[in-house]
C-alpha cells in the first residue's frame, strides 16, 4: 500500500483519544478520532480506513454494536478492528473476538505493544487486500476467458448452421438433377458429379473442422455403448471395399482371436477405422490393404515394435508398461494416456491397418497427425482429402483413452495402429459418473434372479447411491438395472419395461425434471411410475417424493382422466384431494373429476392442503406444481412422512416448459427442503422400500 494507513480511533474518553492520536502520529499514521459509535459508523461509511481502535463501553451505540454493524456490512467487514478494553472485562473481550475483532489491547496502554500490534494488524490487512485484489483479478480473467469461450462455441454453432444451409441446397439439387440425368442420360453428368462431390467434400471439411474445434473446446461428447467388435469390422470392411478396389487393391481382414464386445463410442471408432482405411486405399496402388484386429488382455501386451516413428510409439509403450517411469515429453497425447494409466489395467483392442503403398518419410511421421497436414503439399494435390481426418481420428482415440501410432518405410508401405481400451471411461464426465463397466448390469441381474418383484430402473449419477439402491432393492426381491444418465435411462426403460423407475432429483450434471418430463411425454413409458428421490452427498440423509405420476401439460385433461381411471381400479373409495392455486384450472379439473365420479376436496394453497389431509383422508392427490410457487414439493415431502397416508398416490401437474430459471430455483428449493424435511439414511431407505413396494406391487397387480 503506497498511501499512509488511516486509523480510526473510537473512544468516549478524551484523554484516551489524545493519547492514541499522539502515539499513532508518531508511527507516521493518519489518525481520525471520534467519541461515539454513531460517529464511527458515519466516518467509516464516508471514507476508507485501514484499522479501527474500538472502545467497548461507550454511551449510545457501544463497541459491540459498532463491531456487529461493521462485520455484517460487506463494505466494512474487511477493516480490522482492535478492541481496547480494561483488564477486568474478559467476557466482553471474548464476545468481541467472536464478533470478528482482529486483536485487543488492555488499558493502561503500553506504547511498544501498541506499535507492534498495530503494525502487525496493518500488515495482515495489506496482505489480505493484496490477496483479494489478485483473486478479483483472477476471477475477472476467468470470467473473461469463459465468456470468450462461450462466444466461440456460439460462433461455431452458428457458422456451422450458416454453412450447412446453403450446402444442403447445393448437394440436394445436384442429387435431384443426377437422378433426372441418370434417367435420360446426358453429357452434363460428369460436371454435375463434380459439383456434388465438391459439395460433399466441403461438408466433410466443415464437419471435421467443427469436430476438431469441439474436441479442443472440450465440447465433444462420447456416446458410450456396448457393441460387437467383429460386426463393426465387417461393416467397416464393407463400406471401405469400393475405395480399396478403386486403385486395384485387395482388402485382407485378419482377426487373431475372439474379439468379443467393447464399450466405446461406436461412431467414433468407426470414423477412425474408415479414415485409416481410406488413407491406405488412397496412397496404395495395385497392392494390399490389411486390417488386423486383436484383443490384448494385458496392457503390457502392446509391445514396442521396430518403428521409424520410434519416439511416439516407444514412449507410448513405456507409459503403458511402467507407471513410475518419468515422461520425457508432455504432449497432449501422453498426458491423456497418463490419465488413463491411473486406472487399473484394462484389456485393449488393437486395430492395425497396413498397406503396401508409397509410405511416409520418417521426418513427416509426426506431422501427419497435425491439423491440415498431409505428407506434403504435392500429395494433397494428388490425393485430395481434407487433411483433417488423421488429426481428428487421433484426437478421438485419445478422448477414449487410446491412441494411433504409425510405422512406415518409404516405398514399402505404412502401418497405422489404433489401440483402444476395451472398456472406455468417459473423462469428460467426472469419475463419479464414470460409465458402468459391462459386468455391473449382469451382476445386478444375477444377484437376484427371482422375478417376483419385477424390475426397477434406477437413474442416479452417483455410483455409490446406485450400488446402495441395488442392494436395498435386491433385498426386497426386485431386480435392478442402473444408469447414470437420463438418455440411457429412457432407452433402458423402453427396452426393459421396468415396473418402476427410481429417479434421483438432484443430479448435478443432468436435469432430473427434464428426464421426468421426457419419460412422461413418451406414450410408451408414461404408464411407468416414477419415484423421485434424493440423497445427500455424504449419504447420511435423504428424502423421497413419490411422484407417482406427472402431467407435463396442464391442458392435457384427457390423459388425466385416463390416469385417474387407472388409479381408481386399485382404490377402495374415490376421494381425491385437489391442490391447485389457479382458480380456472382448479374448476376445470374439479368438474372433470366430478364427472368421472370422484369426490373432490379442494385446497387452494399448500397450508390448507396440509391441514385437510387428516380429515379428508384422500385416496389420491392431484397436485399443482406450477411455477413460480412449486411449494407443492413441500406438501409431498410432508405427506411422505404421514403415518397412514405416506403411500397415497400423488399426480403432479407441472408446466410443460419448466424454464431454466425455474429449474435452478427448483433445485435450490429442493436443497432447502432437504434441510427441512430430510431424514436419516436408515429412514430414507425404509421410505424408499415402502414406496417402491407399494407402487411396484400395485402396478403389477393392475
Amino acid at each position: 500500500m503506497n498511501s499512509v494507513p488511516h486509523v480510526l480511533v473510537v473512544d468516549d474518553e478524551e484523554h484516551t483519544r489524545i493519547y492514541f492520536s499522539r502515539q499513532l502520529r508518531e508511527y507516521n499514521l493518519n489518525v481520525t478520532t471520534v467519541e461515539n459509535g454513531r460517529q464511527a459508523i458515519h466516518w467509516l461509511r464516508s471514507q476508507p480506513f485501514d484499522l479501527v481502535l474500538l472502545d467497548i463501553l461507550m454511551p449510545g451505540m457501544n463497541g459491540f454494536q459498532v463491531l456487529e454493524l461493521m462485520k455484517t456490512d460487506p463494505a466494512l467487514s474487511h477493516i480490522p478492528v482492535v478492541i481496547v478494553s480494561g483488564l477486568d472485562d474478559l467476557d466482553s473481550l471474548v464476545r468481541c473476538i467472536e464478533l470478528g475483532a482482529e486483536d485487543y489491547l488492555f488499558k493502561p496502554l503500553n506504547p511498544i505493544l501498541l506499535k507492534a500490534r498495530i503494525n502487525a494488524c496493518l500488515e495482515r490487512k495489506r496482505l489480505r487486500d493484496q490477496e483479494q485484489a489478485y483473486l478479483k483479478q483472477l476471477q475477472a480473467e476467468k470470467a473473461a476467458a469463459e465468456s470468450a469461450n462461450r462466444a466461440k462455441s456460439i460462433f461455431l454453432a452458428n457458422i456451422s448452421h450458416e454453412l450447412r444451409t446453403p450446402l444442403n441446397a447445393i448437394i440436394g439439387y445436384s442429387e435431384i438433377l443426377q437422378e433426372d440425368i441418370d434417367a435420360i442420360g446426358s453429357e452434363f453428368a460428369p460436371d454435375l458429379d463434380k459439383i456434388r462431390a465438391s459439395g460433399k467434400h466441403l461438408l466433410a471439411l466443415i464437419n471435421d473442422l467443427l469436430d476438431i474445434s469441439k474436441i479442443e473446446a472440450g465440447k465433444m461428447d462420447l456416446y458410450l455403448e456396448h457393441f460387437d467388435v467383429l460386426s463393426l469390422v465387417e461393416e467397416v470392411a464393407k463400406t471401405a471395399q469400393p475405395w480399396i478396389e478403386k486403385n486395384g487393391n485387395t482388402l485382407i481382414i485378419e482377426s487373431t482371436n475372439a474379439l468379443g464386445s467393447m464399450h466405446a463410442d461406436l461412431s467414433k471408432v468407426r470414423q477412425a477405422l474408415l479414415n485409416l482405411l481410406s488413407n491406405a486405399a488412397k496412397f496404395t496402388e495395385k497392392g494390399r490393404v490389411t486390417l488386423a484386429v486383436e484383443r490384448k488382455q494385458e496392457e503390457s501386451g502392446i509391445e514396442s515394435r521396430e518403428s521409424g516413428a520410434g519416439s511416439r510409439e516407444l514412449e507410448t509403450t513405456t507409459l503403458l508398461t511402467a507407471n513410475n517411469q518419468p515422461l520425457k515429453t508432455a504432449s497432449t497425447q501422453n498426458s491423456e494416456l497418463k490419465t488413463q494409466n491411473s486406472y487399473p489395467p484394462t484389456p485393449f483392442l488393437i486395430f492395425r491397418i497396413s498397406d503396401t503403398g508409397i509410405g511416409i518419410p520418417a521426418n513427416q511421421q509426426e506431422a501427419i497427425f497435425e491439423v491440415f497436414s498431409q505428407g506434403d503439399d504435392s500429395s494433397t494435390r494428388k490425393h485430395g482429402g481434407t487433411g483433417l481426418g488423421l488429426a481428428l481420428s487421433q484426437r478421438v482415440c485419445q478422448m477414449m483413452g487410446g491412441y494411433i501410432s504409425v510405422e512406415s518405410e518409404l516405398g514399402k508401405g505404412s502401418t497405422f495402429t489404433i489401440a483402444l481400451p476395451v472398456d472406455v471411461v468417459d473423462h469428460q464426465v467426472t469419475t463419479a459418473l464414470a460409465a458402468e463397466p459391462p459386468e455391473l448390469h449382469l451382476q445386478t441381474e444375477i444377484a437376484n434372479p427371482s422375478n417376483e418383484g419385477g424390475l426397477i430402473l434406477v437413474i442416479d449419477d452417483d455410483r455409490t447411491v446406485r450400488d446402495l439402491m441395488v442392494r436395498v432393492l435386491n433385498q426386497e426381491g426386485f431386480r435392478v438395472v442402473t444408469t447414470w444418465c437420463g438418455e440411457e435411462g429412457r432407452r433402458l426403460a423402453r427396452e426393459l419395461r421396468p415396473c418402476l423407475i427410481l429417479l434421483d432429483m438432484m443430479m448435478s450434471s443432468v436435469d432430473s425434471w427434464a428426464i421426468l418430463s421426457a419419460l412422461k411425454a413418451d406414450p410408451t413409458l408414461a404408464e411407468i411410475p416414477v419415484v423421485m428421490s434424493a440423497i445427500a452427498n455424504n449419504q447420511s440423509t435423504g428424502f423421497t417424493l413419490g411422484v407417482s405420476d406427472c402431467l407435463t401439460k396442464p391442458a392435457d385433461f384427457k390423459r388425466l382422466a385416463l390416469l385417474l381411471r387407472r388409479y381408481r381400479d386399485n382404490l377402495a373409495s374415490e376421494k381425491v384431494l385437489l391442490v391447485q392455486e389457479d382458480a380456472t384450472t382448479r374448476q376445470i379439473i374439479q368438474r372433470l373429476l366430478e364427472k368421472e365420479g370422484w369426490t373432490v376436496a379442494i385446497a387452494d394453497h399448500i397450508q390448507l392442503a396440509l391441514e385437510m389431509v387428516d380429515q379428508a383422508q384422500p385416496d389420491l392427490v392431484v397436485l399443482d406444481l406450477m411455477p413460480p410457487g412449486m411449494r407443492g414439493l413441500e406438501f409431498i415431502a410432508r405427506l411422505r412422512q404421514h403415518k397412514q397416508l405416506y403411500s397415497t398416490p400423488v399426480v403432479v401437474v407441472t408446466s410443460k416448459d419448466i424454464s431454466r430459471d425455474d429449474q435452478l430455483w427448483l433445485n435450490g428449493y429442493i436443497g432447502t427442503l432437504f434441510q427441512q424435511e430430510g431424514y436419516s439414511r436408515e429412514k430414507f431407505l425404509v421410505e424408499v422400500r415402502k414406496l417402491v413396494t407399494t407402487c411396484a406391487r400395485s402396478k403389477t397387480s393392475a
Binding site: 448452421h161 450447412r164 440436394g172 442429387e175 413418451d522 384427457k558
Partner: protein
C-alpha cells in the same frame, strides 16, 4: 404410400426434399412454420412428420412437445431435422419427444431408411 408432413421454413430445402420424397411415391404436405405444422398435423393426421427445428412462430422443439402432448397426434412419429450439430442437439430433440433425428444437409438414403424404419414400426404396432 405414406402421407408425410414436412415442416420447413427454408423454401429451397422444402422444395428439394418434397420433390425427392414425392419421387419415392410419398404424398407430401407442407407447413412453413411450427404453428402451421401443429395445425396441419391435427387436421391431416399424417403418417410421419419431418420437422425442421429452427422454425418461425413456434420452433420445432415447442411444436414437437405440443404434438406429443396431444392424444390425437402423440403417436405420429417425428423426425427432427436440424442444421445444428453441436453436442447435445440430438438429446434436445429426443427429449422434446422426437422419435429420430437427422442433420442437414440431409443424406437422402439415410433419411429414407429412418423414415422406413418408423413407418414400418407404425404398421407393426
Amino acid at each position: 404410400m405414406a402421407k408425410i408432413l414436412l415442416v420447413e421454413d427454408n423454401e429451397m430445402n422444402r422444395d428439394m426434399l418434397s420433390r425427392r420424397l414425392e419421387r419415392k411415391g410419398h404424398q407430401i404436405l407442407i407447413a412453413i412454420d411450427g404453428e402451421q405444422g401443429v395445425t396441419m398435423a391435427c387436421s391431416e393426421t399424417p403418417d410421419l412428420i419431418l420437422m425442421d427445428m429452427s422454425l418461425p412462430i413456434l420452433d420445432g422443439w415447442q411444436a414437437t412437445r405440443q404434438l406429443k402432448g396431444m392424444a390425437a397426434t402423440q403417436s405420429i412419429p417425428i423426425i427432427a431435422l436440424t442444421a445444428h450439430a453441436m453436442a447435445g442437439d440430438r438429446e434436445r430433440c429426443l427429449e422434446a419427444g422426437c422419435d429420430d433425428y437427422d442433420t442437414k444437409p440431409v443424406e437422402f438414403s439415410r433419411l429414407m431408411s429412418k423414415i422406413q424404419a418408423l413407418l414400418g414400426k407404425e404398421v407393426g404396432a
